[in-house]
């Protein structure tokens, strides 16, 4: 159970701080199904929420969990579920539903090794593509990858803000190492967090249309069920009123809206760390637990005379496209360590300039990528640069 006492330095886990982040953001409904390595989140909330006027329910599976969270969200409650790989796969139909019906909801997916039951107690980062593209159809969503216990708090608070503001499902993706790691956290952040409350319709019920808002960076209002605004919600293609439609123009508007409302705000989602990048000859692109060892490797490489730098996305979706294009413009040597077979390495290829040399480090054995592993790869890449530049 999360033991944060709110005030000083405490030793807490990533899962603890996901709980604290959700509560600080105003969580009042949680539905979930037990799965390692996320279960501590449910266990903590089962004890905390009932005492705070909130609601905790353990559902019969993950499909039901996300369904219940979406239902509760429609009543105006900030709602969340937490799971890991197999459960995240089961939730995909409802992630698409939340995207299509535009209902705010937060999912914490603690990444373990996959596929299938895979490695229940070990880390992986192989759900990053699923976090963007897991459900059928075209939609846009947001996903965040914390690299520290404190960042579990910050990303969870942010996930709620984005879910509530943009009426989208948002996933927080701590990997197992980050979720189970304990480190010092200054818990004053808990009191300082500023929860974002969803925008309320500025119109009376007779004039309210749930899907006719102007797309903007400010987000979109949504009415609560049971407060006089009687509207219809469906996963079918719908018009501005929310009712199903067969009109191609309306269908197109519906499908583009859920994409454009995220695209238009892409820069607002950009959250990255740039560490020693200014003069870097070797750019390491890493996220989650791997970014921690990457940072250590960067410092050690610099001490050894190789100018390395780290580019770390906290938001992985929507991908920080325009910033990445800038950062990668001058990059000639890029190293991408990941606990998967190269998922984000494939993504960043869109933003690299021609002739850029990319080296991947991929582990699928559930073990962490060590600083030494990154340093060795960086040194090899560095050497290759010299060989190539003499051509």
């Amino acid at each position: 159970m999360s033991g944060a006492k709110r005030g000083g330095i405490e030793v807490l886990s990533g899962n603890d701080m996901c709980v604290e982040g959700a509560l600080a953001a105003g969580l009042s409904f949680f539905a979930g199904y037990p799965i390692t390595p996320s279960s501590e989140i449910a266990e903590s909330l089962s004890s905390i929420l009932p005492r705070r006027g909130g609601c905790f329910v353990q559902m019969e599976d993950e499909i039901a969990s996300l369904g219940a969270a979406i239902g509760a969200s429609l009543t105006g409650r900030k709602s969340m579920t937490a799971t890991s790989g197999p459960g995240y796969s089961l939730m995909q139909e409802h992630i698409g539903y939340a995207a299509m019906a535009e209902v705010p909801v937060v999912i914490i997916n603690v990444m373990r090794g996959g596929p299938s039951t895979g490695l229940p107690t070990k880390a992986g980062q192989a759900d990053v593509m699923q976090a963007a593209w897991g459900s059928h159809g075209d939609y846009r969503t947001a996903a965040l990858c914390p690299s520290s216990v404190k960042e579990c708090f910050e990303t969870t608070v942010k996930a709620f803000e984005w879910a509530e503001r943009f009426r989208i499902p948002v996933t927080v993706l701590p990997d197992e190492i980050i979720a189970h790691m304990r480190e010092n956290v200054d818990t004053r952040c808990i009191a300082e967090a500023k929860p974002f409350d969803r925008l309320k319709p500025g119109k009376p019920p007779e004039e309210y249309e749930p899907y006719s808002y102007e797309i903007s960076k400010e987000g979109a209002a949504i009415a609560d069920f049971g407060r006089g605004y009687r509207f219809h919600v469906t996963g079918l293609a719908h018009d501005a009123t929310g009712f199903p439609t067969n009109d191609p123009e309306e269908i197109s508007r519906c499908n583009w809206r859920i994409i454009e409302k995220v695209e238009i705000a892409r820069s607002a989602f950009t959250w990255t760390e740039k560490f020693m990048l200014e003069d870097a000859e070797i750019l390491v692109f890493a996220y989650g637990s791997v970014a921690r060892t990457a940072k250590d490797a960067v410092l050690r490489l610099r001490a050894a005379g190789i100018r390395a730098g780290l580019y770390r996305p906290v938001t992985i979706w929507p991908f920080p496209a325009s910033e990445a294009r800038e950062v990668f413009r001058e990059a000639r040597k890029v190293l991408v360590p990941e606990l998967n077979a190269g998922q984000m390495a494939g993504e960043i290829e869109k933003y690299l300039t021609r002739g850029c040399d990319v080296e991947k480090i991929n582990r699928l054995d559930g073990e962490i990528i060590t600083p030494v592993q990154i340093m060795e790869a960086a040194k090899a890449l560095h050497g290759r640069k010299k060989a190539q530049s003499s051509d």
Partner: protein, 274 residues
Amino acid sequence: MAGRRLSPAIDIEKYLRKRNLPHIWCAGCGNGIVLGALLRAIARSGFRQDDVAMVSGIGCSSRLPGYVDFNTLHTTHGRAIAFATGIKLGRPDMHVIVVSGDGDATAIGGNHFIHACRRNIGITAIIVNNYIYGMTGGQVSPTTPKGSRATTAPFGNAERPFDICLLAAAAGANFAARTTAFHADKLEDLIFKGLGRKGFSVIEAITPCPTCFGRRNQNPTGVDLMNLIREQSCGIEPGGKSEAPAGIRLGVFADRDEKEFTEIYAEMAAGAGR
């Protein structure tokens, strides 16, 4: 027909979203009869429209909430009860009604169905049992009678059907009752009863689907199926325990007054030092 219950004194038109009519249902379909009975039962219950949430899955019957002016939620196939559980826990004061087909409720959604019964959460579930998958064109369902034909049971269904009410009763629902679209007044009464219950209540309505079930099973029209339903209907003893002759067993299979889940939850939360 008993004049009282179908009396014109009950105005159900005020509940209809007329802009969405005509509905998508075939001539002879039983869904409209269920809709009428449900709206009359809601009117008799005196619920305010703002306080009613109606949730459905996917299927012909699940299109019902789109036609009525409440807080309405058309979800994914089989999962209506899961979403409804979130609504009821989020707003225990609301009247939460689920409308679900036999495939929706007992195939893909079977697990949610029995767990809602077990939790005894304050939701009224109307299960529209037409013995077939209507929306997708007539495939076999968990309630298709043994031997009946379906597009995926061309030689007759080899499987045994579920008895939805016995399932609900065994899983712990406070109220479980079955009637048919032919017995429209009885259907209204049972829904009214279910709406008045705390805890999970299940009202199973046997309905004609001439398009997908009747045509393949020697009863091509709604009238044919209505006659068949009438002929095959038989009663049960209170509690559903006695041996009734083969046929469609109509009656009340569970009628308990066990405490409702959100009430228990609120007490637990109060005890936990809220």
